[in-house]
């Protein structure tokens, strides 16, 4: 009761401070008067008595401060002042604001980006009406320990029996060519989906209608609903598209509706056709792989739905023990069903901890900068303490200053997070040409904003409170002993470790960036030895089902024969085109990564390690591959039809054969990873050597490679290179038309000029390179600021000492040496450690060429110079110390 009363009175006193202040002043004045009266009565003069009274009473202002602290919530009052002061500090110390702010912004940005990404991946909010009630029914096969998707039988049972999940539907994704009237085919992901899906998502079509239950019946006319993007891109936004007939592979299909922009249910789809299941599909354990979804009935929890589902499942297990005894269906939030294991979700969240640690590390650095600043403000802090500010008040002030800085940084960081997410999604989408699931929106959710606020508070606590505690420790003693310029303050050995490791990171990170960039440039500027810009390249794919005209799946040999016939026909028709000079095929094209295999060569050659296994890149190519691409044959011959012999590249001769004469030598493949497990394959004779034609293995520059001739039809997928007159891209539409004419189910992917092949790889490396560059830049800034702070700090601490030394005749050299030595030692140590790191890292990857060693050394020297620049200002300050002034100054 007393505590509640006190709380209310404190609040009242906080809001009505004036009255309480007047009362306090009056009471203290009366108190002093009574003391004075006593001293006068003891025989002191009036003036003496007043002084004695003050002494006996103690510091009036301090007493008032303590009384205020007890009386009201004064820290609240001081808080607004602290915020103002904090904002002023941002402007007054622009260097710290910029460096500390940038560093904290980066830490918040990466933390928030990852948090948002993990949330999107594990527990996203579906951007659908009542999206959190949409669920998936996933079946876990306990015997095989994997998700079982052939559940068409159960799908029907669930649809008929489940009360707690409504609007149950299913979908599967198929790749099909969408062919418009002009005959050009473009492959697309089509969702074969239950009509209920459109009731479930509650999204109205923009034009026409969605799918209907009637569309699912066998024998119903083939219909298609298209998405906004495809409507715009393929149909030019044609308003009369509804009713138009297109082809999906071979099947003529009528467009019945257009969905609005952004609609991509079930995952990232832009085309929808009805899911038609045959009677055979409904046999237990048969049918295609489907994914089942539904909506929880009003008021039903996911647990209740699970309970009902389990009952239905145990009934099914009783009826079909063979197929269903080991199946455990479960109701999961919709988006989560795309992750096979819940444990994966937890792991994704746990990685957040890494980013929190990164923030702590960064803010620890900012704390050091803040400490250096707080130390230069020691007199101010001492005066405030003398005036009665408690240690808590001062700590609070420095915390708020850090918080203001953190708030600005968090705002910047969140904006950067949105940018980062867009960037990340763009990179992920560019890689493989897949679109992100529709619930992946590049923006930050309120939860993420809250998380960022939490991160900021943590960061501010580290950056503000730690230095405040250090700077105020033992301040009472310093105050009494009148020792401003506190010898008690110093940067500890920990700080040396921090600076050294920071410089090391600063040296190592940009070097890593450099190597990533080198890789990108090497791929981009790789000389493939022929005129790649004259070729159009494309990847060919077909489904077993599609290739067979009847729709039934065909056996592997049948498929191979069929696919070979398609390729031959395509090649024949293309060769007949006036603009085409030649056509060839390969399983991997130049400028892309080739699979690596372990080989050994016969021991007839020179050199002690001739029989040691090597890893080489491999490619299987059509016999005319070298002729068509114009890759020069240096020694020996190219392929004959039906060749089992191999052609190797120049790097193979240089690296594997150590420059020995290659023709007639033999090589064979080793299976397994260790020598013990190796079982060698048959020997292949080397019959020719070609120039290095852009095989990328572990290293870009020299990748030893082996070519095999494929004469009996290529395995899918296969890459085709078409040598054309003029610009390759202008031939692309014509190629699509011809391919569609050969077989409407043949899908053409990654259609691009051969010199652009591998660009998604560059994009990924570029992303990595840019991220590394940003992190390096911040590490550099922090390290420089750290060195600068420590130097300034040292100089200001030692002004008095330097003054005395100068007065005693010390010369400038001594001053420079004494001020510089510590920083120089730290920077030197850091750079050495960084150089060591670079060597270890690069040795692990590829090793350094001579000029790269030079480049790294030059870079390290440059960094040394830059670090020393940070020392110039403080050193000049030290040199300018005048003995008389130094001694007069407080220290």
């Amino acid at each position: 009761m007393a505590s509640v009363r006190r709380f209310l009175l404190r609040l009242w006193s906080f809001l009505h401070a004036d009255r309480a202040e007047m009362e306090l002043a009056r009471e203290i004045a009366a108190h002093l008067q009574l003391l004075e009266d006593k001293f006068i009565a003891q025989g002191l003069g009036a003036e003496e008595a007043r002084h004695a009274a003050r002494r006996a009473f103690g510091g009036v202002e301090q007493v008032k401060e303590h009384q205020r602290d007890t009386r009201s919530f004064r820290w609240l009052d001081g808080l607004s002042l602290d915020f103002k002061l904090g904002a002023r500090m941002l402007i007054k110390h622009p260097g710290l604001t910029l460096v500390g702010g940038l560093a904290m912004a980066l830490a918040v940005a990466v933390g928030a980006t990852y948090f948002e990404f993990a949330t999107l991946a594990v527990d996203p909010r579906l951007p659908l009406p009542d999206g959190d009630r949409v669920v998936a029914i996933r079946t876990w096969d306990t015997a095989a320990a994997r998700v079982e998707r052939r559940t068409a039988h159960d799908f029907l049972a669930w649809r008929a029996q489940l009360e707690s999940v409504r609007e149950i539907g299913a979908f599967r994704t198929v790749e099909q060519n969408l062919i418009l009237g002009d005959g050009a085919a473009e492959p697309a992901e089509v969702a074969e989906i239950s009509a209920t899906a459109f009731q479930l998502v509650r999204v109205e079509p923009m034009l026409g209608r969605t799918l209907l239950d009637a569309d699912e019946r066998p024998g119903a006319p083939s219909v298609l609903v298209i998405g906004y993007d495809i409507w715009q891109r393929r149909f030019g936004g044609d308003a009369s598209v509804v009713g138009r007939t297109v082809r999906l592979g071979r099947v003529p299909t009528v467009v019945v509706g257009v969905m609005p922009m952004g609609f991509a249910f079930p995952v990232a789809h832009g085309l929808w056709t009805p899911l038609r299941l045959t009677a055979e599909d409904h046999e237990p354990g048969h049918g295609p792989a489907i994914q089942v979804f539904g909506r929880l009935a009003p008021g039903v929890t996911i647990q209740r739905a699970q309970a009902e589902l389990s009952t239905v499942a145990s009934r099914a297990a009783g009826n079909f023990p063979e197929t269903h005894g080991h199946l455990r269906p479960e109701v999961v939030p919709y988006a989560r069903s795309f992750f096979d294991l819940d444990i994966g979700g937890r792991a994704l969240y746990a990685i957040n901890l890494f980013f929190v640690l990164f923030l702590i590390l960064v803010c620890g650095n900012v704390a050091a900068l803040m400490f250096a600043r707080a130390a230069t403000r020691e007199s101010e802090i001492l005066v405030r303490t003398a005036l009665g500010a408690s240690r808590g008040r001062i700590v609070m002030q420095l915390f708020v200053e850090a918080l203001v800085l953190g708030a600005v940084a968090a705002a910047v960081g969140l904006a950067a997070a949105v940018f980062e997410l867009r960037w990340l999604f763009a990179v992920l989408e560019a890689d493989g040409g897949r679109r992100m699931p529709f619930w992946f929106k590049a923006g930050v959710s309120p939860t993420t904003v809250l998380y960022a606020v939490g991160l900021t508070a943590l960061g501010a606590a580290i950056a503000g409170v730690l230095p405040a505690l250090k700077v105020t420790s033992g301040i009472g003693t310093r105050l009494r002993e009148a020792k401003a310029g506190g010898r008690g303050l110093s940067f500890g050995g920990v700080w040396t470790v921090v600076i050294v490791s920071q410089v090391a990171v600063m040296v190592a990170l940009p070097s890593a960036t450099f190597f990533v960039r080198r890789h990108v440039t090497q791929v981009q500027s790789l000389d493939v030895g022929f005129r790649a810009q004259e070729y159009l390249s494309v990847r060919l794919e077909a489904n077993r089902q599609d290739v067979a005209a009847g729709g039934a799946e065909m056996s592997r040999p049948e498929l191979r024969a069929r696919f070979r016939a398609i390729c031959d026909e395509l090649s024949r028709r293309l060769s007949a085109e006036p603009g085409v000079r030649a056509v060839t095929f390969a399983d991997h094209l130049p400028r892309t990564h080739h699979p690596r295999r372990r080989i050994e060569v016969d021991d007839a050659g020179p050199g002690p390690d001739a029989a040691v296994p090597h890893r080489v890149s491999t490619a299987t190519v059509a016999p005319d591959f070298f002729d068509v691409l114009g890759v020069p044959i240096l020694v020996g011959r190219g392929f004959h039809s039906g060749d089992l012999d191999v052609v190797v590249n120049q790097s193979f001769v240089d690296r594997v054969l150590k420059g020995g004469y290659p023709i007639g030598r033999r090589m064979r493949y080793l299976t397994g990873d260790s020598d013990a497990a190796s079982t060698p394959g048959p020997w292949h004779e080397i019959v020719g050597v070609v120039t290095d034609a852009g095989m990328i293995g572990d290293d870009v520059a020299e990748s030893a490679g082996v070519y095999h001739a494929r004469t009996s039809g290529m395995e899918m997928p296969v890459h085709m290179a078409v040598h054309v007159n003029g610009k390759p891209e202008s031939f692309a539409p014509r190629l699509r038309v011809i391919a569609t004419a050969v077989d409407p189910t043949l899908r053409l992917r990654d259609l691009m000029p051969l010199d652009a092949v591998g660009s998604s790889l560059w994009l990924e490396f570029n992303f990595l390179g840019q991220v590394l560059a940003i992190v390096s830049a911040v590490a550099l800034l922090l390290a420089l600021a750290g060195i600068y702070s420590v130097m300034s700090f040292t100089v200001s601490r030692r002004t008095r000492e330097i003054g005395i030394r100068v007065a005693l005749g010390a010369d400038a050299r001594w001053i420079v040496a004494s001020v510089f030595s510590r920083a120089a030692a730290q920077v030197g140590l850091g750079i050495a450690a960084g150089g060591f790191l670079v060597c270890v890292l690069t040795q692990a990857v590829t090793g350094l060429a001579a000029q790269e060693v030079l480049a790294v050394t030059a870079y390290m020297l440059l960094m040394m110079g830059v670090c020393m620049l940070a020392c110039i200002v403080p050193t000049r300050r030290a040199l300018a110390v005048e003995p008389t002034e130094a001694l007069r100054a407080d220290g």
Binding site: R5, E27, I28, A30, A56, D69, T70
Partner: protein, 112 residues
């Protein structure tokens, strides 16, 4: 920590009790008189600044255990006199008992 800081800290735990006890036995007192009484009891007239009392006074008043009112002193000076209230007397009893128990316990420990 200096000796004075230690002294204050020690006192703060018992200051409420001492103030309540003084007001209960001696009737309404102003801060000066309370401070003099404290110095008298502790035998260390200058060990503590008199101002130290003020936070304790405002805390006790806010808790409703004492009540302040302006009156004239014998010498016709203005002063704020604090008197113990009914809840304050109850609190004094509780605190005294607790203190005795604690002191007894410590005594016992020290004698063993």
């Amino acid at each position: 920590m200096t000796s004075e800081e230690r002294h204050v800290e020690l006192l703060q735990g018992t200051l409420d009790l001492i103030v309540l006890r003084s007001l209960a036995t001696m009737g309404p007192l102003h801060a000066y008189a309370l401070a003099e009484r404290l110095a008298q009891v502790s035998d260390h007239p200058l060990s503590l600044n008199q101002g130290t009392l003020y936070p304790a006074l405002v805390r006790l008043e806010q808790k409703g255990w004492i009540k302040g009112a302006w009156q004239k002193t014998e010498n016709n000076r203005d002063a704020k006199y604090y008197a113990i209230t009914k809840p304050g007397e109850g609190e004094l009893k509780r605190q005294t008992e607790r203190w005795r128990r604690l002191a007894g316990l410590v005594d016992k420990l020290l004698l063993e």
